[in-house]
């Protein structure tokens, strides 16, 4: 039982780190939550001498949680200035004007 939850803890700690780095927002809280539950159960099932690694797992997962919440509430969602896209929009409008004038010419 302890071994199963220890392995699950390792898996979810790794997933938590990956999800926290990727821009998955609050979705990362899912493996973090499951990870914390697994760590807690593994911690309870372990002897005092076996708990050191689990304490580290808890710390890492906890930091991941704080990092995700910090990103969610402190980092503002914004669209980057895309000069290529802006240039494409200007060109598209010029082209559209030409198309409309061609269309008017047919009428």
């Amino acid at each position: 039982m302890r071994k199963t939850f220890f392995i699950l803890s390792v898996i979810f700690v790794l997933i938590s780190i990956t999800f926290s780095i990727l821009p998955l927002d609050t979705l990362a809280l899912l493996p973090i939550g499951i990870g914390l539950i697994c760590i807690f159960i593994a911690f309870k099932k372990s002897d005092v001498s076996q708990r050191k690694v689990l304490k580290w797992f808890f710390a890492i997962t906890y930091i991941c949680g704080l990092f995700v919440l910090g990103k969610t509430y402190l980092v503002k969602d914004e669209v980057a200035v895309d000069t290529t896209f802006e240039q494409q929009k200007i060109e598209a409008q010029q082209e559209a004007k030409k198309d409309l004038e061609e269309l008017e010419g047919i009428e």
């Binding site: 927002d25 004007k97 269309l103 047919i106 009428e107």
Partner: protein, 253 residues
């Protein structure tokens, strides 16, 4: 008596200008939405959608340029960058389209479409990434719109006369074919409308005979129940999931 009849006819004539065929969407209107996508039950904000209008004049005519663009937030750009634009050049009064353009750039996949409307005929030019340009001509109905102009046309409907469950049919041209679209009035609800505050809105369901939209009454739009009829919230259900567009800022309305 003649004078009374004359004044009455003038009044009736003026009233007739406020029917659905005459829509006044202001030039310079800008509506900004926050686009969220449902990831494992959690709504995650991934993109910004901007709907703007501006007047474009040629030597002969003046058009209203309706522009919808979607751009992913900078944090997603490295993983899956989206820059989509849907544009329509319409008659400022009737919102009848003359030109419709669609440019898609989704994680490297590109597609460009251009539809020119002439009487009841559409000439489309489409180009997918690494594929040759294709041209097609097809006939459409007199009231067929493109998808962008339809979104603005819906804002001209007088929903005060609608009862819950009442429907209205439209036809749009999308992916080089005509698609029937049904709009169903589902009642009124109060929703948050960004900088406009909480607003009483008309709740409408959009149904289309296409694979792009899924489910019954799962594609919804809330229009503010005032003269502006600003889309405050849009919820969509597509084959790859569900999401929503929530109004964050409305200017020039």
């Amino acid at each position: 008596m003649k004078r009374v009849l004359f004044i009455l006819s003038i009044v009736l004539l003026l009233c007739s200008f406020t029917t659905e065929n005459t829509v006044l969407i202001p030039s310079g209107e800008k509506l900004v939405y926050s686009g969220s996508y449902n990831m494992s039950g959690l709504m995650t904000q991934i993109a910004q959608v901007t709907m703007s209008t501006e007047t474009v004049a040629t030597a002969k005519n003046s058009y209203l340029h309706l522009n919808c663009e979607l751009a992913t937030f900078s944090k997603y750009d490295k993983f899956f960058k989206i820059r989509d634009t849907y544009e329509s050049y319409v008659n400022p009064t009737t919102l009848k389209p003359s030109l419709y353009k669609r440019s898609i750039n989704e994680g490297g996949y590109t597609k460009k479409e251009k539809y020119t409307f002439k009487d009841n005929k559409v000439t489309s030019v489409a180009q997918k990434r690494n594929k040759p340009e294709t041209t097609k001509s097809f006939s459409i109905g007199a009231s067929t719109q493109d998808v962008v102009s339809l979104l603005y046309k819906v804002r001209a409907i007088d929903f005060t006369k609608f009862t819950a469950g009442q429907t209205k049919s439209f036809t749009i041209v999308f992916d080089e074919k005509e698609i029937p679209v049904t709009l169903k009035h589902l009642g009124s609800e109060t929703v948050s409308a960004g900088n406009l505050g909480s607003k009483m809105c008309y709740k409408l369901s959009i149904g289309a005979k296409t694979n792009v939209l899924k489910g019954t009454d799962k594609n919804l739009i809330w229009l503010t129940a005032d003269a502006k009829k600003v889309p405050a919230l849009m919820k969509f259900s597509i084959p790859v999931g569900t999401g929503q567009l929530a109004l964050t800022s409305a200017t020039g309305i």
